[in-house]
Amino acid sequence: MINNTAAEMSSALAKGEITSVSLTKQHLDRIADVDNEVKAFLHVDTERALAQAASVDADRAAGKALGPLAGVPLALKDVLAQEGVPTTAGSKILQEWKPPYDSTVVAKLKAAGVVILGKTNMDEFAMGSSTENSGYGPTFNPWDLTRTPGGSSGGSAAAVSAFEAPIAIGSDTGGSIRQPAALTGIVGVRPTYGAVSRYGLIAYSSSLDQAGPFGRTVLDTAMLHEIIAGHDSKDATSLNVPAPAVVAAAKSGDVKGLKIGVIKQLQGKGYQTGVLARFNESLETLSSLGAQIVEVDCPSFEYALAAYYLIAPSECSSNLARFDAMRYGLRTGEANGASAESVMNSTREAGFGREVKRRIILGTYALSSGYYDAYYGSAQKIRTLIIEDYKKAFTQADVLVSPTSPITAFKIGEKSEDPIAMYLADVATIPVNLAGICGMSLPAGLADEDNLPVGFQIMAPAMQDQRLYNVGAALEAALVSKWGGHLISKAPALGGAK
């Protein structure tokens, strides 16, 4: 039943119509069939997954109380530490590193009985928008294997869109959940900063990183969201407030009377025709459902990309300093008499990929004395202006919307030689990260010119994540009924029978 939704799997498991072991095997078979084409997984954890599934089945047989997603398989972005399982963050510098501890997200998944199928590919240390920056080769978009699935959580998005897993975990620092969700025709949510613990999430940019859920439907995504969210005393930036009721919101889906703000700065120039067409159609749909569409002005968003590409590299230059060949990970250049310093230098040269080095150097520059105020300091002030723009906009609208990505899935190699062009892929998603608020991408249809998925982005204030699900569910229901099924069912078949 790999084509079903996670909610349907959950109810089949609860009714005893299927076991978790069988469900897990079906997904492992699917991975065996198609992953040689998609390359979503870096590590398939067959044994552990089956053992975990068997244990959930045993618990269910014993009549133990189980969570709604107990026994449902999931794909985990390789940026999250899982005890005893290779965790590389897509980098050669961590090849074969096995953490001696679980990230909080993994601990929560395990406690909820969610079956972890394996670790998915990603841009190295989550730096990228195409998954081409992985140290282990790119992931391919199930809609068109010559194209990227977006990034950096491209492996997780591709796994869900290729029916290798019904749900997946990604992380979103500048759009790394929402953009690949858009490019692969699925749903992805970046929760409010501080809503999901970062403990065990290998840091790229500490003040922007946030793990979040992928699903093929808004409800599936909400069910996963509810499991991973919540306060964690191991993360000092974790919010100690009640988690928003996202599942309830995903079940209601009512936009009547809601004000939906279209951000003037996130459309127009640079956006693909088909992307804008689907975006505007979705707005009409929402309007027909009783929402009021207004336009809001966020002038400082023009500077968001620049601020992001200073803040994230600066933090990463420091976060990645720990990869030094001393305590774990790769060590090279240890020829006779080499010093610790030279071993560090050559290991970091060999272990980091091009984009990671580029960002480390950029960040080192932006933080260095004499440049701090002009670059890092200014970027943080821009951040304040973006927060203020959002604040004002949220007085005019309940949620804000834009296309998730200005373009549909691009060809492998198309932008990999042009960092600036690649950076532009995140132009619409980055403001959410800078302000620490939440955002969702859900499918808005296919672009006419290339028949590839287009994502519709919804943004809500901090800890108002339920608004994303409410609006998303309403829009999804209307579109699905118009299309006669979920968008993902229009994806072309892959190697295995579908």
Binding site: A81, P99, K234, A321, R327, S368
Partner: protein
């Protein structure tokens, strides 16, 4: 040409700056829940956070914040209503994250002072040391250098790293520049570090053991020509691990600077390492360029904004200031100036106080610690605190003497036994069979024997020449192998020879 210290101070005025690192005595580390216990097996007190494993995050220890505020208050500092942690970025293998979480432009405490008093040629004189800032940071791991000659870093083939110490909370106390101490600079610096140590000990926020590194001093020294207001180039001496070393290091650096300056050479701004054995400093590896630490606010931690009410609660908890405390003890115990100074100098004031609190007479307690016990410590060349004798032991011995169960002479044997690790005073008494001969019959027998042997002397006493009794008493003591109470012997002897006992 080697200069004398007098030559130096005749021409130059020293300017000091002192940075003291204090390891707090919290149970757990600064940013994780690992134990801070000293001396554990290598890498038994580590976790994902203090090993900087990918994904791990720091969380601030509340007790460390409280201790830092207490320190700031005790040093008369302002407590910042809002302060932040920053990352100090530099690569070094004993620092797992390759950045240190520290505080940069927003320290938790700032603008304080400490007054210290030293003995000068003109009598006691007070100096005010101004405190620039007190900030929080974390300690590094420890490296062991293998191969090469000395276990030093130079010439080692490889190093072994252990991280039990990594992440132990440190508080750094930085003075403003200290001018105007003249020839007393080394003494003032020593007195400052001692005062700081006493204040911290009183606050119970640190073990303040310089030998174990829980209090470490970096001394900045520069010289300027007397009368000039142009500051000289400073050197920063690290590894100064005892009070005596603070004095020696500063004196040594003053002489070294003066020699360079007299020869027309320049003092290099550099880090130097104090060497306990020679009392000299050696140059650290000079860096090609000033390190660029790329400080920025630590994004994994949020600001510290202590409520005014909390600060006032902590202020109310502050213990008596050490200087006032000393003054009070001096009055209570009626100690002469010289004796008081001797106790402070020998660093036994606390231990004497503890002994007195356990019931011992202040004079007796002081005499033991300052006398016999100090002598043994000197002989063994170790700190009094490291001897195995405790205030409780001394109080017990004083009580035994007061009860006439021990003579002073026997008590010395007991002290010696306790120091030798033979057990508590009671155990030493039992093991060694030390016992005052209290049996008057046995004493009388000895007295009669001695009087018979030294009939001539006995006769003198009988005739009223009481001072001659000393020799007889000595002989009786010898006869009883020192186990008799000399006072009782004297009493019985004089009675026996028909003399008044007073």
């Amino acid at each position: 040409m080697a200069l004398s210290y007098d030559d130096v101070i005749a021409k130059y005025e020293p300017v000091l700056g002192l940075e003291v690192h204090v390891e707090l005595n919290t149970e757990s580390k600064m940013f994780c829940s690992c134990s801070t216990t000293f001396g554990g097996e290598p890498n038994t007190q580590t976790c994902p956070v203090c090993l900087a494993l990918p994904g791990a995050l720091p969380v601030v220890n509340a007790k460390a914040i409280e201790s830092s505020i207490l320190i700031g208050l005790a040093l008369n500092c302002q407590i910042a209503p809002y302060s932040r942690f920053s990352r100090k970025n530099y690569f070094y293998p004993d620092m797992p994250k390759n950045f240190q979480i520290s505080q940069y432009d927003e320290p938790i405490c700032f603008d304080g002072f400490v007054d210290v008093e030293i003995q000068t040629d003109e009598g006691p004189k007070q100096f005010r040391i101004e405190i620039e800032r007190v900030h929080m940071e974390e300690d590094t791991g420890k490296s062991l250098h293998v191969g090469g000659a000395t276990g030093r870093i130079h010439g080692a083939e490889y190093s072994l790293l252990a991280y039990n110490r990594a992440g132990i909370p440190l508080v750094e106390i930085v003075t403003k520049i200290v001018p105007g101490t003249g020839k007393y600079a080394p003494e003032v610096a020593k007195a400052y570090v001692a005062e700081l140590r006493d204040i911290l000990r009183g606050l119970k926020v640190s073990d303040v053991k310089m030998e174990q590194g829980s209090l470490r001093c970096d001394a900045n020294v520069s010289l300027r020509l007397i009368g000039s207001d142009v500051l000289g180039t400073r050197s920063e001496t690290k590894n100064v691990n005892s009070l005596r070393s603070v004095e020696r290091a500063i004196r040594g650096e003053m002489i070294r600077h003066a020699e360079l300056l007299n020869e027309g050479k320049k003092v290099k701004q550099e880090t130097r390492h104090f060497q306990e054995d020679t009392g000299l400093t050696r140059s650290g590896r000079s860096k090609e360029q000033a390190e660029d630490y790329r400080y920025f606010p630590e994004p994994d931690l949020v600001p510290v904004a202590p409520a005014a009410t909390w600060i006032e609660e902590l202020r109310a908890q502050l213990p008596e200031r050490p200087s006032l405390h000393r003054k009070r003890l001096k009055e209570q115990w009626a100690v002469p100036d010289k004796e008081m100074a001797a106790m402070i100098n020998a660093d036994v004031l606390d231990i004497v106080e503890e002994t007195v609190l356990l019931g011992a007479d202040p004079t007796k307690a002081r005499t033991w610690w300052l006398g016999e016990i100090s002598r043994v410590a000197n002989e063994k060349d170790i700190a009094i605190a490291d001897l195995s004798i405790t205030p409780k032991d001394v109080a017990e011995i004083v009580a035994l003497v007061a009860a006439s169960e021990l003579t002073d002479k026997l008590a010395r044997q007991v002290v010696e036994g306790v120091i030798a690790g033979e057990g508590t005073p009671a155990e030493v008494v039992a093991k060694r069979g030390i016992k005052v001969v209290n049996d008057d019959g046995a004493l009388m027998a000895a007295i009669e024997k001695v009087c018979a042997e030294q009939a001539e002397t006995a006769e003198k006493v009988r005739n009223g020449h009481v001072p001659a009794a000393g020799a007889l008493i000595g002989a009786v003591m010898k006869e009883t192998k020192g186990q008799a109470d000399a006072a009782r012997v004297r009493e019985l002897l004089l009675g026996h020879l028909g003399q008044a006992t007073n």
